[in-house]
Subunit: 361 residues, 2 copies
């Protein structure tokens, strides 16, 4: 077997979600938090591809506001990145990946990964990457398809067609977030995967398709990199140039329109930890179904997620409740409905509690 | 009508309960908190008897640890006390009242009041005191009987016999906290009142009965006052002498055994605010049955008590929940069962979180 080019991980750290408020804030987004393990989600992501035989140093695309935190975290995880691209503005995933692809060699194979997902079974992930690599040679753009285990309505779905390499299928179609009945039908159909936002392709193939389907994004990214400023491992794309890029996701801008798009289905204990409910589902629990973190006193308490980074939390006689406490804010809500946290964040914005969603006190 | 001796209010501020933890602490007990109004419970108590025509300046019996706080609060409520008796140790109500009765003139009429109860209808209270005054002339010891409006199992009950003065009845018997069925029967019987711990008697009558039924308490109080130290309005009874006093309640030590004990039934919007549930019942509520205090964001929330002196509390989609937040502790429990807060406090003690029940951080 000929010596293979090493894969370049591209870690997307642009998210600034508030679905895990009050812990996640604009200034301290989910990927920079240690939610599921002692390491942060960014650290876990970076450490998944530490293997000099297979992977080059990662490129990280992030907001300039988080540059120091990202370098610190990667350094202390012994997973320093090769290039830290600091987006002058948030433009969604297609432009972010375009920056990385433009900064890379067109022959480089990029493994694009969100920085805030959990993958429990890393060997399964690595095996799926191996399978996907076979299709790279035939110029496929690969997305990894998460084997669904519930009729989730919060994810996009991918239906697979015929196999194009062992364990890699041509994508028949992408479907937007379905309603519950449709999701149930997809689950039973057996040919659907969740779109987990993890991709593998040659940099040049991505740019080629981007130039065809979203030429303004491709041009803005090219210009931004050309006129960008490099300092050590940090790369600042030109703000004015990048500002001209439309905002769009890689799915809309490229994957749903490109030729030769394939999916590599994989079962790897994946979760996007998209809500406090998801974290409760993932977390180690005691015999009463409770997942606690921090100074918690729980009495006669069942199936609760109680987490504090600030005051001690005492729960007595509560069931199916989520309590998240920081020094400056406490969230209390029933389990099963934690997407509604956005209502609280919206109310805080309306009422002028700016710092409470931007950063910690 | 002959000029009448003014009544001396005796305010008992010895409680250090934890039923309202995490707000109440050993170092900051319930009576020093503003729970129901802008004023603290001590201030509300003191202001009930500001009326120079009827009342002398109050005597306050309290723990030395709270001396400064008590003076500050009474001063800012324009209700300075005449004498602040600082107990060297907590010995329950019979010895505390004995200190006040000993320091007073034996002819003084004492109105003994806990400092941590709510009385919404002060004119009704004052009218009951007027009624009770008629029986004082015949040497009765009077207790005020709260008209019960529910089969509460947390209070002692008093059954009344024949009237000895208009609106004042001889006590037939005191009964300990009954079970639910018994309480229900008392409620239906119509001759029972709750024992609210408010008393009216001449100092000498109390001491006479105390000397008969609990001579060690009477002797210890007498000795403690004799050897005590006075400084301005503060009186420090002698610690060694007072330490010899048995610990007992006025009910056990005196009222249940004494001759000529009467009850003055009164309906006056009384509450001992003995739990967070009681506070929710008392508090002004919004259209959804919520009582909030402090920085609270409540969305789709019903019948909750949410109170914070520290972090902002955001509640989304919760019902019948109590959330009490301070800078260092947060309590979460279902409504209707808030007596169980003691379980949390006991756990904190066991686990060594001393400061969390002693004082605020």
């Amino acid at each position: 077997m000929a010596e293979r080019r090493r894969i370049t991980p591209v870690i997307l750290s642009g998210g600034a979600g508030t679905r895990l408020w009050p812990l996640s804030r604009t200034g301290c987004p989910k990927q920079l938090l240690a939610l599921t393990h002692r390491e942060t989600m960014l650290q876990l992501t970076a450490r998944r591809t530490i293997d000099d035989a297979c992977f080059a140093r990662a490129m990280v695309v992030a907001s300039a506001a988080h540059a120091d935190a990202i370098e610190d975290q990667l350094c202390s995880a012994d997973a320093p990145c090769g290039l830290l691209i600091l987006e002058p503005a948030a433009r969604n995933t297609a432009p972010a990946i375009a920056l990385a692809a433009t900064a890379a060699d067109r022959q480089d194979i990029l493994l694009v990964m969100p920085s805030d997902h959990v993958i429990e079974d890393v060997p399964a992930f690595r095996a799926a990457i191996e399978r996907a690599m076979q299709a790279i040679e035939q110029d496929w753009l690969i997305t990894f398809g998460i084997t669904p285990d519930a009729p989730e309505t919060g994810y996009g779905y991918i239906r697979r067609a015929e196999e194009v390499a062992p364990g890699v299928h041509r994508v028949e179609r992408f479907v937007e977030k379905p309603d519950r009945a449709t999701a149930q039908a997809y689950l039973e159909d057996g040919h659907y995967s969740w779109n987990g936002g993890i991709f593998l392709f040659r940099a040049g193939r991505y740019l080629e398709e981007l130039e065809r389907h979203a030429p303004e994004i491709a041009a803005a990214a090219r210009e931004a990199i050309l006129q960008g400023r490099r300092e050590g491992q940090r790369l600042w794309p030109d703000a004015e140039a990048f500002a001209r890029s439309p905002s769009d996701s890689i799915d809309y801008a490229v994957m749903e329109k490109a030729d030769r798009v394939a999916v590599a289905p994989v079962e790897m204990g994946w979760s996007d930890v998209g809500s406090w409910d998801a974290l409760h589902a993932l977390a180690a629990k005691d015999g009463s179904g409770n997942a606690h973190h921090g100074e918690v006193v729980a009495i006669d308490t069942n199936n609760c997620l109680i987490r504090t980074e600030g005051p001690l939390v005492a729960a007595v006689g509560v069931k199916d409740v989520i309590v998240i406490a920081t020094r400056d804010a406490v969230l209390v809500m029933p389990r099963g409905d934690s997407q509604q946290v956005r209502l609280a964040v919206e109310a805080l914005k309306r009422e002028g509690h700016i710092t409470l969603h931007e950063s910690w006190s």
